[in-house]
């Protein structure tokens, strides 16, 4: 049995920042199903928020207010306050580690405007900010390679739980197919989001709900899963991200008539309204037949910015659009559409990243989570752009500190290695043995299609019910598939099947929570209940598993400074 003081699952920004903290005193393992530098944090483009005030005076209070208003007042404000206060220090530390940032004429970290932020507070490295931070953290991990062991291309299957105590994880080596148990004093999940359940998504193939579902399967609820962010600028059909920084730099959104339609939806902020509002505006235009040539896309126009500015500030994504669409944004507008981008919900944690089981804050001892897979909740019903990289780094560091505090001087728990291993081996065996005729590919496509059309930007009771029924049918068909590759060596097929199983489970959870929330707030919009309803729904959803199906309980929202008010831009 492998043994480490701490196992961190996921090697994106949160996981690596956590490792750097925990390895100061502990023996740390970081497990990733890819390589650290391949984590999806690296795809973040536009920036990371902090009230440095490098281009205009700014304050943490303004950052906090913008975040809470952007989140449609579902954010836990005590957590938001700690988070925005930590932001400047966190950015300076990244700079000290060597992270490469674009600079102001005085040599300070450059900052640009972003949707929903009242001040230019997005610190950036051209249009590859996530990449810059990811590599800076990876460099620090390589520097600390004596105290951090990285398990590249290992898959996490399940948590080892004893009552209210987490004692490790069951994993397998993708390269060899060997199943192993890693015993640990504490486990940290930094497993990212689950945008792959939707047809059009900016997410990597790896963003498949493995972490959240592993938590859910051992009885941990999921908080606010109905809140999924649709990013307004996914490249048409592909869904891959074209940074909000384009609008931050001044790009326009145009419908088929050439109108800057945001005037109708958010006259004061125009293209720089929060993402939920812009994505809905786009969808409304398309639904009204004003998409470009009547299709499901609208135009993002950067032409007036000029080639020089585009090359200085947005060079990578210009190339991206040339490679993927054959369109140069210097000379032509880009067709874009809303794309599933970020999960505001996730594994419920307290402000120190310790996983909790209920609204009373009962802990699952030894189990922590940070980053997109966790729900603190600092983003409430809708996350502002550039707040996610900040979330990952702030709470990654905090999880590291918490886990250090927790595991220091503690003994390892009891783990029955054979029994735990057998659980996962059975899962493998079950899939290998299936001799059905269903196509996993077909099932995955149908899931993505129904989630997009019935549980996407606009939702209603009828569509959600159909969606859930369809998904349950797909879960049944999932049991009747057949695997081609029965080998152990780098069998990517078997892992894709396991990921699909997780995604189907997650999709049902999202749709069920969306059906239950009969109001519209942030990224969750019900056409049959188009208003926010604070009297009935100003709470966090907590979705539990039970023998009779999913059960939804509630958890109060922490409100300190800002009382819920009407949200207009």
């Amino acid at each position: 049995m492998i043994q480490h003081d701490v196992v961190i699952v996921g090697a994106g920004l949160a996981g690596m920042r956590c490792a750097l903290e925990a390895c100061k005193e502990l023996d740390v393992a970081v497990l990733t199903k890819v390589y650290p530098s391949r984590s999806h944090s690296g795809a973040a483009q536009g920036g990371i928020a902090a009230s440095l005030g490098n281009s205009e005076p700014d304050s943490w209070e303004e950052h906090m207010f913008d975040t809470v208003k952007g989140g449609d007042f579902l954010n836990d404000q005590d957590a938001v306050e700690e988070y925005v206060k930590a932001a400047p220090r966190i950015i300076y530390e990244l700079e000290h580690m060597g992270c490469v940032f674009s600079r102001t004429p005085e040599g300070k970290i450059a900052q640009r405007s972003f949707g929903g932020h009242s001040k230019p507070r997005a610190c950036f490295s051209a249009d590859r900010t996530g990449h810059a931070i990811l590599h800076a953290l990876h460099e620090q991990l390589m520097k600390n390679s004596r105290s951090v062991k990285i398990y590249n291309e290992w898959y996490m299957h399940s948590l080892v739980i004893d009552g209210d105590q987490c004692n490790g994880v069951i994993v397998s080596n993708i390269q060899t197919g060997e199943v192993e148990v890693i015993r640990a004093k504490a486990v940290v999940f930094c497993t990212g989001g689950y945008g792959r359940v939707f047809k059009i998504t900016s997410n990597a193939f790896a963003s498949t709900a493995d972490g959240v579902m592993a938590a859910f399967e051992v009885g941990i609820p999921l908080e606010d899963p109905e809140f999924v962010q649709f990013h307004p600028s996914g490249l048409y059909r592909q869904g891959i991200l074209f940074s909000e920084a384009a609008r931050g730099e001044g790009a326009y959104l145009l419908n088929d008539k050439g109108e800057r339609f945001m005037e109708t939806y958010a006259p004061s902020r125009m293209e720089l309204a929060p993402r939920d509002i812009v994505a809905r505006a786009e969808q409304s235009e398309m639904d009204a037949g004003r998409g470009i040539n009547g299709e499901d896309c609208i135009h993002l126009d950067l032409r007036h910015l000029g080639e020089a500015r585009i090359m200085e500030r947005l060079p990578q994504i210009r190339q991206l659009a040339i490679d993927f669409l054959g369109i140069d944004c210097v000379t032509d507008p880009l067709p874009i559409q809303p794309t599933a981008h970020y999960s505001m919900g996730g594994i419920p944690v307290d402000n120190n990243c310790h996983v909790i089981l209920d609204s009373e804050g009962t802990k699952m001892h030894g189990f922590f989570a940070a980053g997109e897979c966790a729900c603190v909740s600092v983003h409430g019903g809708n996350r502002l752009g550039t707040n996610s990289l900040l979330d990952a780094v702030v709470f990654g560091e905090r999880a590291g500190k918490s886990v250090l505090e927790y595991a220091r001087g503690r003994d390892f728990g009891n783990v029955n290695e054979g029994q735990e291993k057998a659980r996962v081996l059975e899962k493998f065996e079950d899939i290998f043995q299936r001799e059905g005729s269903e196509s996993y590919n077909q099932i995955r496509d149908e899931m993505k299609e129904i989630m997009m059309s019935h549980c996407g930007v606009f939702r209603d009771e009828q569509r959600l019910k159909t969606c859930i029924e369809t998904l349950k049918g797909l879960q049944e068909r999932f049991k009747k598939g057949k695997v081609t590759d029965k080998g152990k060596l780098f069998n990517t097929e078997i892992y894709e099947i396991m990921e699909l199983g997780n995604m189907l489970g997650m999709a049902v959870i999202i749709a069920t929570a969306a059906l239950e929330r009969r109001e519209s707030r942030g990224g969750h919009y019900r056409t049959d209940f188009p208003k926010r309803d604070d009297k009935k729904f100003l709470y966090h959803s907590m979705v539990y598993d039970s023998p009779d199906g999913l059960v939804i309980k509630t958890k109060p929202v922490v409100i300190t400074k800002y009382q819920p008010a009407e949200r207009t831009y």
Binding site: V100, D485, E493
Partner: protein, 313 residues
Amino acid sequence: MATFRIKRFNPEKQPEPYFEEFQLDIPDGATLLDCMNQIKWTLDGSLSYRMSCRSAICGSCAVKSNGHALLACQRQAEHLVDNNDTITLEPLGNMKPVKDLVVDFTPFWDKVNKIKPYLEPKEEPPVKERRQSQEEFLVIDDASTCIMCGACYSDCNTLEVDDNFLGPAALAKAQRFVGDSRDSKTLQRVQDLSEPGGIWDCTHCAECVERCPKPARPFDRIKEIMTVALEEGVHNNNGARHALSFTNSVKRSGNLNENRIPVESMGIFNIPGLLSLIPVGLRMLLKGKVPPILHHSIEEVRDVKRIFKELDQ
């Protein structure tokens, strides 16, 4: 209908790799990765390759297509089809195949680790950020776009004959620190990078620049490190001596003194090194390849000297 000729390898089943052909209609606008997924998901689930972000930033999906390394997610499939309507896919080169298009990246990462890929700052950091001008940022901007996909490593001609070479990606990563105004170890770094296996073992073929899917362009970065090494006075190695001797020869006479360069590159006091040249010299003598003993300047040598003078200014 296009043919995808894919090199298959599964040592669990048979020890030797072989090619297998798949027929696929390339959908409009499909990337090479989209096609590979279509093959995997509808024709043969056992096909293995790496992928993740599909937006050319994670660096997972580099493979060889028609003999050259590229990122599968970044390229439109129809642009890759050859005259026979075929796309030939193989695993990256210079690394050991694991299964199908998956290779073992261990040596790649070991070499990245070797260049001490982290900032060694000058002093205790200030409370806020260190200042760095936009110009200083631009020196490391290109190198920092590297996504570690291994395309350059795969097609590097030096690596094909010399395992010890650090390779283009690790050296580009090294430039990101050599050129960083915040780093304190510039001299140490260029000394280490001038050792065998480092910058001077690059053959200047620039294949890595052709293969790089980002603006990192490793060979350009290698040249930048060479410049810094010479500026820092790190001359005590064959590569630097060769570069200096080469320059001096052209400066003096307008062409290369081929008798002098090998001797100067080896170092005039490097007796064992010079002795090692004798067999080569003898073989050249036997084949009638020895350059003339008396070296002549070209007629326009004054113009050459003027160019050097202007460059010096």
